[in-house]
Amino acid sequence: MTAQWQAVIGLEVHVQLATQSKIFSGAATAYGAEPNTQVSFVDAALPGTLPVLNRGAVEKALRFGLAVGGSIDRQSVFARKNYFYPDLPKGYQISQYELPIVVGGSLTTALDDGRCLVVALTRAHLEEDAGKSLHDAFQAATGIDLNRAGTPLLEVVSEPCMHSAEEAVAYLKALHQLVRWLGICDGNMQEGSFRCDVNVSVRRHENDPLGTRAEVKNVNSFRFVEKAIAYEIERQIRANEHGEKIVQETRLYDAAAHRTRSMRSKEDALDYRYFPDPDLPPLRLTEADLEAARAALPELPAACHQRFTQALGLSAYDASKLTEERALAEYFEAVQSTLPGHAKLAANWVLGELAARLNDAQLVIGQSRISASALAGLLTRIADHSISGKIAKDVFASMWESGSSADAIIAERGLGQISDDAALSIAIAQVLSQFPEQAAKLRGGDEKIRQFLIGQLMKATQGKANPAQLNTLLRQALTDVK
């Protein structure tokens, strides 16, 4: 980006709330149903039908508001946003205008270079989603599916306080992590659960008034957001430098052409004629409502991360990986809480063997065939030296296949680690007499031969020898023997 220009970026994210039923009707919200099979008479805007607000949507919005430290309006109002479009059955969208449920708040995240980014939020409000227009379903017609109409959305609006694509994407990723962590959204961008509108403008100096902004709508991947912003910044700078005016307009990101383009202009500058919806009296929240939401708030990712690094001594990297998903963090916690002092061991296994297994089988942590307590059972045997790490991997594999516990498998296959001095000494004596040349070399100071002898000893003990003890006894044996 040219040093003379500052880009100003604001983001509006439509977070689809993971409720069972729609925001104003009892129809289902599951993704992928046959067209118009999850549409109640209210959703189809039949004459005389009326909206009734879903408690679950309010709770999720509250959770979000508290998590970002926003201020929760004790009284918030639903307003009608009036415009005509076939995927908007009532001819208006029920949204919130002057008194949204959440005002302010902020999100803090780390950039790649370690710098801290704090993004202030303007507001977050509840609204209903529209249906879907399918333009390719028919030759001369557009098909409308209203299954999505009425799904609850939380629109999260940031202040225009970001200045680069990097910052924007970092913010979006943090927001994406948070809404999944809170359990209010599944974050599935392919399915449209998390949709970003990007507002970009440029100005020469940071104290200048904001330039005219362009809005790029419905960008549904972080990569596209990055590209769209980059394209827009360049387009706007070039236009400014050529003396062209930037038009306030809505644009779409064309992934194939790697550029943004202007949307076919809507007929008129839209006048939404917002007014309070007379079918919905104001939402009044009590202290009890807020207390309940506060009590139900889980520990937030940032706090969890900090606890992992400070109290449990994990690396920042490990803590970040473990806090990517709440279910993963909870799994890890469950494992390590049975093994105090072995957090690193637990982290290694969760992020190593387990992660690899889940990845291969394309499962999420919640579908793991080895429960947290079962894994803890295995790690306990490593920690108490019953088995070696190497053998543990074998046991892990068997646990995954059979569902049995570590102890059951260890017992069944006699895999317990040999830590008995006498038994180990016998093995050592046998191997040394089997390989007198190598023994002599080692006694003579040739360290390179040690691994060979250790290897033979492992073979002789079916891998069950406690390595540390073996080493100690071997050294002793070598100095003892004449």
Binding site: A28, T37, I144, P276
Partner: protein, 95 residues
């Protein structure tokens, strides 16, 4: 209060009404008279008065987050002017 014809056109577009020339003339005049009549509101002292959108004791009641509606596709299709493959049809929209 006078309503310019361009303003009337804009109102018609916002309301998605296609008015005939006669209608434009007659309705335009009617609207002007109605707005003239309601201009009495301008003379009222409303300083500090909260707008009344709902009767005062109304407070929004919530419903539990439960699926209570079944598949109504057949009922919706029965009353739909044009539906094909389970989709409502409208003339092709270019975006």
């Amino acid at each position: 209060m006078h309503i310019e014809s361009s303003k009337l056109d804009r109102l018609a577009i916002l309301s998605r009404l296609a008015l005939s020339a006669d209608e434009r003339f007659a309705l335009g005049a009617d609207i002007e008279r109605v707005l003239g009549m309601v201009s009495a509101l301008a003379r009222v002292d409303v300083a500090g008065v909260t707008p009344m959108a709902h009767p005062d004791d109304a407070s929004l009641r919530l419903r539990p987050d439960q699926v209570t509606e079944a598949d109504h596709q057949a009922a919706l299709e029965a009353i739909a002017p044009e539906m094909r493959g389970g989709l409502y049809l409208v003339p092709k929209v270019l975006e």
